[in-house]
């Protein structure tokens, strides 16, 4: 805290010991009595200022020591005034109740000089300020120092992801474990083939801007390869136009990969409607009429997940579901034979497609999770030993 400006004259009465102590006490009593009656409260002292850090130079923090009269309840408020010259015209900034001894003035313009003074006002009137503080200047800063931890997290994450993407593009495919959900999908398609019935694939109800829909459509390509190989009919009802066109490309690509381009049925991918309940009515209609033996739900689902899973369960079909919408997972977990939980949807799409950017993001995320676990373990140990610097460092303002 920098303190500069005109020093306030502080009276220092000499006090010889013993005899005069009683006199001083009487005088002091008299003072209190008279002060209580007439004199306005003494002014506060030691006004210091500090440019509020991490901002665009728009605020200054001012602090002062309370006036001696404050403890005697004779001060109701401190009035803060500002001027652009030491003696210049004073403009009112704000008044603060007696118990507070600091004020953040947020109306300053950056890089301009100001002078401040604070006066104590009470029931007996207002005392002119003794000390004037200035020149005060608020500066704009280039970096918010409290956000270091966020910068480190983002920089680390971007570095990991980019490194893994370049690894994957250079042919050295990073290892991604085969999650059991993928076996469940293959088993479901296999069962549908044995029973000679079709497969229903629902890529979620959102448009292409939701990354869950993108992941669902990537998985659709691999499922289409399986249905092509097993010559099992596949039905893909879709809600929005763009996912509809991409779903068609995915199913065609699947049949192409399996070497059965001729078997591709153009109306296996059907555009239904973006309206949630109209879409659900149509899909449950397909479940009940065409009775596919396997239902695969991969993508963004909301309140309608309950209706789809329940009707599907009633038809006895084997159901595999995946969504990153946490509030819908409970319904899928209890109603479906297998459910990929949250991020497993992205892991499945990365594993099946081997796409460098998907695998890179996944592996980068893994490393940052390990980093987070280490920080939590170290942090908890430090906190248990009442050492708080790590916790403080991570607090962002």
């Amino acid at each position: 805290m920098r303190a500069c400006g005109v020093p306030a004259p502080a009276p220092a009465p000499a006090a010889p010991p013993g005899v005069t102590a009683a006199l001083v006490a009487v005088l002091f009593l008299g003072l209190i009595v008279t002060a209580a009656v007439a004199a306005p409260p003494e002014p506060p002292s030691g006004l210091v200022w500090q440019d509020v850090p991490n901002d665009a130079g728009r605020a200054v923090m001012l602090e002062w020591k309370p006036s001696p009269a404050d403890s005697a309840r004779r001060v109701t408020a401190y009035v803060l005034e500002r001027a652009t010259a030491p003696g210049g015209p004073w403009t009112f900034v704000d008044s603060v109740t007696a118990d507070k001894h600091e004020k953040k003035d947020q109306g300053v313009r950056r890089n301009t000089e100001y002078y401040y003074r604070v006066t104590a006002s009470g029931p007996d009137g207002l005392t002119p300020a003794l000390s004037v503080t200035g020149p005060v200047m608020a500066k704009s800063e280039w970096f918010n120092r409290t956000r270091w931890s966020v910068l480190v997290a983002i920089a680390m994450f971007f570095a990991f992801v980019l490194w893994f993407i370049s690894q994957a593009q250079a042919g050295k495919k990073p290892f991604v474990r085969r999650i059991p959900g993928i076996d469940a999908i293959e088993e479901a398609v296999g069962r549908a083939t044995e029973m000679g019935r079709g497969v229903l694939f629902v890529p979620g109800i959102r448009d292409i801007n939701d990354i869950q829909t993108v992941a669902g459509l990537v998985i659709l390509e691999s499922v289409a390869r399986l249905t092509a190989k097993y010559e099992t009919p596949i039905t893909v009802p879709v809600t929005y136009p763009i996912p509809f066109t991409i779903a068609e490309e995915m199913v065609k690509g699947g049949y192409l990969h399996a070497g059965r381009a001729d078997q591709y049925d153009p109306n296996s991918v059907r555009f239904i409607s973006p309206e949630q309940f109209a879409y659900v009515a149509a899909v449950t209609g397909i479940m009940l009429r065409e009775r596919p033996a396997a239902h695969i739900f991969m993508g963004a689902f909301y309140a309608e997940s309950l209706l789809l899973a329940e009707t599907g369960f009633a038809t006895g079909a084997i159901q595999v579901a995946a969504t990153a919408n946490v509030h819908q997972l409970p319904f899928f977990v209890v109603a479906c034979d297998y459910t990929l939980i949250g991020e497993e949807l992205y892991a499945a799409s990365a594993y099946l497609s081997g796409d460098p950017k998907l695998v890179g993001s996944l592996k980068g995320g893994d490393l940052l999770k390990i980093a987070a676990i280490i920080v939590v373990v170290v942090g908890c140990v430090l906190e248990s030993g009442h050492i708080h610097w790590l916790t403080q460092w991570m607090v962002t303002q």
Binding site: A59, Q106, V326, H327, T396, Q397
Partner: protein, 277 residues
């Protein structure tokens, strides 16, 4: 036909009927079961009480008519809580479907219970703005820059209540009532830490569990979860609103769903054991 197959063949429309009756009955003949205020609701009340009386408070109501039964009681009780503290309330609505509903609720509370308050002096409804996170950060550099006009189409810069309101630093707290995107999560991510604005939130029950981590970390100072949270808030404020009246029906409905889960599984076990035997 054994009991198990009877239940299995049961047409689900009977279950619909049972649920309908169980919800309708307590609305006609209230059971008035006692409520207990849980800790997230108690911290919500404590946080709003800590707002200095007479200060200007930002209240963002981000929901639409699909959230009426949970969000409207919270909005009413929170608004009364702030107006009793002589706070000046500035309302924003970031959901497309919300402005008409929020204005009706606010107008009804103020006209019937605080007739002496003047619009534009003691409270203002800034209405809707598109842009979700973008408009939240835009308000960080100037509330009137983001909302040049209010809900009623009049200019906000000339309103007495908006004098002295620059950006989030003008508010001691944000009271956010929201039922999805954009809502509490976006306010916490874009505004709470970045603009140092303490925050309390009232949310729908389906999204409440997701916000407990924010409550534990202190990003939220208080949380109302669904109709139960609204009813407990009404009880803490000594009111008896639509949320409290609905809680009896919640009790019966919840026990009925629990009964369905158990019955469904008992039917399943008996069928499997008979098939196995």
């Amino acid at each position: 036909m054994s009991l198990a197959t009877f239940f299995e063949k049961l047409d689900r429309r009977w279950i619909f009927l049972a649920m309908g009756l169980l919800v309708l009955f307590p609305l006609l003949f209230p059971l008035a079961l006692p409520l207990f205020v849980s800790s997230p609701v108690a911290s919500f009340v404590k946080a709003v009480d800590s707002i200095p009386d007479g200060s200007k408070v930002l209240m963002s109501c981000d929901y639409d008519p699909s959230g009426i039964p949970e969000m409207v009681p919270m909005t009413r009780t929170a608004l009364r809580h702030l107006l009793d503290k002589k706070c000046k309330v500035i309302i924003t609505v970031l959901w497309n479907g919300g402005p008409g509903l929020v204005d009706k609720v606010v107008r009804k509370v103020v006209d019937e219970e605080y007739p002496d308050l003047k619009y534009g002096v003691d409270y203002v409804n800034l209405g809707y703005k598109a842009g979700d996170e973008a408009v939240m950060v835009l308000m960080g550099q100037g509330i009137v820059n983001a909302f040049p006009k209010d809900y009623r189409g009049s200019d906000t810069r000339s309103m007495p209540i908006m004098r002295g309101v620059r950006d989030y630093s003008s508010f001691p707290m944000l009271v956010n009532i929201s039922s999805g995107y954009p809502g509490t999560k976006e306010w916490v991510q874009q505004v709470q830490a970045r603009f140092h604005l303490p925050m309390v939130a009232g949310v729908t029950a389906v999204s409440a569990p997701e916000f407990y981590p924010y409550l534990q970390s202190g990003q939220l100072l208080g949380l109302l979860g669904g109709m139960a949270g609204a009813a407990e808030y009404e009880k803490a404020r000594g009111e008896k609103g639509s949320a409290t009246r609905g809680m009896d029906a919640q009790s019966l409905a919840h026990f009925f769903v629990a009964f369905c889960i158990l019955l469904g599984n008992v039917v399943q076990w008996t069928k499997r054991r008979r098939a196995g035997a």
